[in-house]
Amino acid sequence: MSKKIFRRAGFLAATLAAGIFATSVQASDPIKIGSFLSATGPASFLGDPELKTLEMYVEKINADGGVLGRQLQLIHYDDAGDASQARNFASRLVRNDRVDIIIGGSTTGTTMSAAPLIEQARTPFISLAGAIVITEPVKPWVFKTPQSDRMAAERVLGDMQSRGITKVGLISDTGGFGSSGRTQTLEVAANYGIEILADETYGPSDTDMTAQLTRIRNAGVEAVFNFGFGQGPALVTRNYAQLGIDLPFYQSHGVASDRFLELAGTAAEGLRLPASPLLVPDSLDDADPQKAVVQNYKAEYEARWNTQVSTFGAYAYDGLMLAVMAIEQAGSTDREAVRSALENIQGYVGVTGIYNLSPEDHMGLTADSFRILEVKDGQWNLID
């Protein structure tokens, strides 16, 4: 009896070991696209649409005959928003699965912890995270598709400048997104002749920001800018309306979703934010080269998943399309060739913006790719 148990245990152990250590070296026909995303956990609102987008377009590209006549194979691991998990999965992708290119890293933390490993393995890596540190200074093998938080700050401050505002109150959350945005805003404000008179913060799970907003109001500012994502900005917006502050109010691209409008309700009326054209596909000018791409992505995504499209998924769309373009231009999956093709892509019209990459700029977007939207009658309205 116990012998049997031992034999079974041995068998089980052997199967497990085979599962972990099996390095499948096949005829290497498909092009391997590796990915680690935060599809579950606290950052799943980023990772989930990103993963859905990748799955859907890899299927679509394969149905259309693949790339260079080869099928794409998506190898995805879920890091659940944990940076050390992300690092381990990146290690697995480059060392064990030996993927040709990596598209992933939903957050700045997961991207940065994986980047040194991927750099060393000399594998092209397109990150889907925001912070400017990812591509500045330029790392030869690391690219990213979302605009940096600095650009969002520049776009907002630019819009304030055009309205003649010079004194601004800043309120940001202490999470990664908010605190990075705060740093960037403070750094670039002077370039737009804007003075930050009040600089307040709140915890990501706080439920009332009245105290901070009161201090900002009393500082004698002409406009208020809130940098953050999640439920915080919706609460700030509600508190702002409750206090009856009658000053121009700005949010960051972190809340650019219809969900935010639901949470903030009528309090959001009149606020402005920088956002992807994906929120207003039909108000875009017909001459706008992005219009068709944006409409297409929205329609395809919503038809396939039966859920609302998200700007974060669009980062993955642009990442995948850039990767495919680079592989086609390189004519092979030779890593160095793909890398240098990536860094020379010019005029790719994506959902997020129009990309012009260069060896000095591994993101390739300008601040103009953000559209300034205003909330009017509970709807997004294109201003600029």
């Binding site: 116990s2 148990i5 031992f6 497990l16 070991a17 599962g19 972990i20 250590f21 390095t23 579950t40 995805h76 691991y77 879920d78 944990d82 940076a83 050390s84 998990q85 690092r87 381990n88 999965f89 290690s91 697995r92 480059v94 060392r95 064990n96 700045t108 933390g109 940065m112 912890s113 980047a115 040194p116 060393q120 912070a131 540190v133 202490t174 999470g175 990664g176 605190s179 990075s180 740093t183």
Partner: protein, 335 residues
């Protein structure tokens, strides 16, 4: 005879050393080494934690914070201020030891599980400080850590080294270092357990009143072992930071503390080798289950649940019990 071998602590250390030596033959690429190195470093932390949980019967819910303080002090002092890694590592260990003493000494005079509450609070405070002091710690986005250098010689995972005419990769040397650290951690822990301190601790675990009656200064021993386990965590945190090269506040989080405690309980409390098995299982599972995608967390929970229901003493003690039963039965079968 085999039975007494199983009991002997030197035997355990020997088995562990053998496994560490033999393992490289089964590791096929750098990714496997990568996971093995992390297991070694975390296992050494957990061996220290086990002294507190398994032998003194106290629970620390803030051990990841001590790990984090070690890691972050190494990251900041070597990265930002250019100090040498080893002195920083020792300095961090002293700082963490003092924190643990200040927290533990007054609380451990009380009976019951007050230590877990205090460590919970301290853990949260440390986590929040690391998370919010962006200018110093890099905030939630993390901070990169320079590679380890010992007496001026840099040990970088990504370099190759010429030693005695052989070319060895940095990863392999890190594996050797992690293996040595783990053996050292186990050896020190076993010596503590077998010393008067260890006996005093076990008496505290058994019955604190009885221990006091026979003249054991329970508060002193409990706080001593608490400080030792915190220092273990700090030192391993420093090594871990240098190894991974990038850390985020998550390593100091409450969730990570829980993971560390789970490793102890799963592997087998008060069994030094058992907790190492706990680390191996908990570190391997996410990799093994990664292919199941959405089902991953469910299967993870299920495995933990079943283990705790059917092996309440932990993996290794239960397996040892089974093996012992099997060996005892065998002669009967022969008859």
């Amino acid at each position: 005879m085999l039975n007494s071998l199983f009991q002997s602590r030197q035997f355990g250390l020997l088995v562990l050393a053998l496994i560490i030596i033999v393992l490289p033959f089964g590791l096929q690429n750098d990714f496997h080494y990568d996971i093995a190195i992390q297991m070694g470093l975390i296992a050494a932390t957990v061996v220290g934690l086990n002294l507190l949980v398994g032998f003194a019967g106290q629970i620390s819910l803030g051990h990841a914070a001590f790990f984090g303080v070690g890691a972050y002090m190494s990251a900041i002092l070597t990265g930002t201020y250019g100090w040498s890694p080893i002195p920083v590592l020792l300095f961090a260990a002293v700082v963490v030891g003092i924190i643990a003493f200040v927290v533990g000494r007054p609380i451990l005079r009380l009976k019951g599980h007050y230590l877990s509450m205090a460590t919970l609070a301290v853990g949260f405070i440390i986590y929040i400080i690391i998370n919010n002091e962006r200018r110093i710690t890099g905030g939630p986005d993390g901070i990169s850590v320079p590679s380890l250098s010992i007496f001026g010689a840099e040990l970088n995972v990504f370099n190759d080294y010429q030693i005695l005419g052989m070319t060895l990769s940095g990863t392999f040397l890190w594996y050797v270092l992690a293996g040595v650290l783990l053996l050292l951690a186990v050896w020190i822990a076993q010596n503590i357990i077998d010393s008067p301190i260890g006996r005093a601790l076990r008496s505290v675990h058994g019955s604190e009143v009885a221990a006091r009656v026979v003249g054991v200064d329970t508060a002193r021993f409990k706080s001593l072992v608490f400080v030792i386990s915190a220092v273990y965590a700090s030192i391993m945190g420093s090594f871990y930071a240098h190894y991974t090269g990038f850390i985020t506040p998550q390593i100091a989080s409450f969730e990570h503390s829980i993971v560390l405690i789970t490793m102890v309980v799963l592997g087998g409390m008060a069994s030094t080798l058992g907790v190492i098995l706990g680390v191996v299982v908990l570190k391997l599972l996410p990799q093994v289950l990664a292919d199941f995608q959405e089902l991953e967390m469910m299967m993870f929970g299920l495995i933990l649940m079943l283990t705790m229901i059917f092996m309440p003493k932990g993996l290794l003690p239960t397996l040892q019990g089974l093996a012992r039963k099997y060996l005892r039965k065998k002669p009967e079968e022969g008859v």
